[in-house]
């Protein structure tokens, strides 16, 4: 089942022509509208009309998350703010988030790609879509929401939390499609079991799960415990949000919405393009975005473009599940966490180079973040209340920065392994 057969199943030659035309328009537009890109293109001796085909793509400069941060908040926007109808933001390596803007047409494209994604997992206008992604600056909630409305389905904007109430709603409202992070889907299954509600009491048929890494093993569990078709969805707010790529029921990779997003895989060290089947960093160029067009945006996500065509009939290339990151970013409950954010808080509190360790665990299907902090003489006190106060302060300040709850544990010096060169700051014990 397709949402937009014309584009989703477009013959490759036609699709390529469309991509080339849109790439040329995008390059010309950023040249004229975004000083950052004009300078970057000029530095490479490129004018607005020097890109003729997809083969010219490697001539274009990369865009990084740092570029977005350096131009915070609106420096890379290609339209006046009066044309921007929505802002979203995601956390970055420093206190400043990455801000993304959408014109009316950008929202339209986003709804379109999300409608395709939802249709792939079986949604129709008859569906009752239980959207447990968070609503707010995070793109998950509203992304699904507008896609679901585009289809004409009924959306339950339940957002995150209140798990027992969510299960009651799923049962009483007759939810047929579930959208949330994969870990939350498993948590829902567990609470359902505790409440004595079986998958037969629900009407779930399909679901889109993303915003954090997961595995085939988790898919099997989600499918058998909730009785639905579970598909992986990929996206990032810088590019548009969820809907950049989504699996089809063949479950053999995620189809990239190639009429809107051009993807490449590069060697993260050299920047060279890699052939299909090779794993490297995913790089995305937007082809239709108005407010925040991005040229060769380095996602830092590691995957491969899968060779061959898909039996589902969609012609758009597929990328494999995200295998990891080229940086040390952690995705916890859908929130991006950088160890450097925690380091900054600790530095501010202790005034010295902190020794710390971040431990991520999945307990009862939910990711938990624990930060071990070595107690230095600067912060040590012989009074329990002062140390407890310190523990609380560290916790509160980290939570303020990250926006998710953490547990802080004070540990003795030298508890945390010192290694030569880069210290090991993260232990990820999540079994995906």
């Amino acid at each position: 089942m397709y949402w937009n057969e014309k584009y989703e199943c477009m013959p490759r030659s036609e699709l390529r022509a469309l991509q080339e035309e849109r790439l040329k328009e995008t390059v010309a537009r950023v040249y004229y509208e975004v000083p950052f890109y004009r300078r970057a293109l000029q530095a490479r001796g490129l004018g607005p009309n020097d890109i003729h085909s997809l083969e010219d793509l490697p001539k274009l400069p990369f865009t990084t998350k740092d570029d977005l941060r350096d131009n915070y908040p609106y420096g890379l926007f290609a339209v006046p703010l009066s044309e921007v109808v929505r802002l979203h933001a995601s956390s970055g390596t420093t206190g400043k988030p990455t801000v993304v803007g959408y014109t009316r047409r950008d929202l339209d494209i986003w709804a379109e790609v999300m409608a395709r994604a939802l249709t792939a997992c079986g949604a129709t206008k008859e569906s009752m879509i239980h959207n447990a992604y968070g609503y707010g600056l995070f793109t998950g909630g509203l992304g699904v929401h507008y896609g679901a409305e585009r289809i004409g389905a009924s959306v339950i904007p339940v957002s995150g939390g209140h798990t027992k109430r969510q299960i009651m709603i799923m049962k009483d409202f007759g939810s047929t499609i579930l959208t949330c992070t994969p870990s939350y889907a498993l948590y829902l299954a567990e609470v359902m079991e505790e409440m004595g509600i079986s998958k037969e009491d629900l009407k779930l048929k399909g679901g889109l799960f993303g915003a954090e890494p997961w595995s085939e093993n988790m898919r099997k569990q989600i499918e058998s415990r909730l009785g639905l078709l579970a598909l992986d969805i990929y996206g990032l707010s810088e590019v548009i949000g969820p809907g950049v790529a989504v699996e089809c029921p063949e479950k053999q990779g995620l189809h990239v919405a190639e009429d809107h997003f051009l993807v490449e895989i590069i060697d993260p060290e050299t920047g060279e393009q890699l052939p299909p089947g090779s794993y490297g960093e995913l790089v995305v160029t937007t082809l239709t975005k108005e407010a925040l067009p991005l040229i060769r945006y380095r996602t830092r996500d590691i995957t491969a473009i899968l060779p061959g065509s898909c039996p589902c009939g969609r012609t758009h290339v597929r990328i494999d599940r995200i295998k990891g990151r080229t940086d040390d970013m952690l995705v916890i409950r859908g929130v991006n966490v950088f160890p450097s954010q925690i380091e900054e808080v600790l530095f501010r509190i202790s005034g010295t180079e902190p020794h710390y360790l971040i431990i991520v665990e999945r307990r009862e299907q939910l990711d938990e973040l624990e930060v071990w902090v070595e107690v230095s003489e600067q912060v040590f006190s012989d009074e329990v209340r002062r140390l407890e106060h310190l523990e609380k302060r560290i916790r509160r300040e980290i939570e303020d920065v990250l926006g998710i709850s953490v547990r802080v544990k004070l540990v003795e010096p030298k508890t945390i392994e010192r290694s030569e060169g880069k210290a090991k700051r993260v232990i990820d014990r999540r079994q995906l």
């Binding site: 107690v375 006190s381 012989d382 030298k414």
Partner: protein, 143 residues
Amino acid sequence: MLVKQISVFLENKCGRLASVTRVLGEHSINIRAFSIADTTDFGILRLIVNNPEEAYKVLREAGFTVSVTEVIAVKVPDRPGGLADVLELMQEAGVNIEYMYAFVEKISKDAIAVFRVENVETAVRLMQEKGIKLLSGNEVYNL
């Protein structure tokens, strides 16, 4: 009239207390008194030893987080109500106690109470005005 207390940060882990005391033993440092304050995750070991400077040095070298805190030691008659008398006098003097611990002395049959107070200099003056007998560092270290 102040006594130096050694405080050591301890994780709630098997064998931590043993390793602190082993380090002290190996350096011929004798423990006069100690107490542990503990929470779910960690504990604070407080020690009165015969040679606080040396204890601080060797524990630091052994990799512990250590601090030296000045506390007040009071001789308390070892009889029912002995401690209550001292505490009442301290209350009258308006001295706020952060924590305390006590031990019985071998020879004189008196008990010794160690107090950690907020403002130690003022506390000493106020307690002396109330006639509370304070012990000097050397008196305690050499018990």
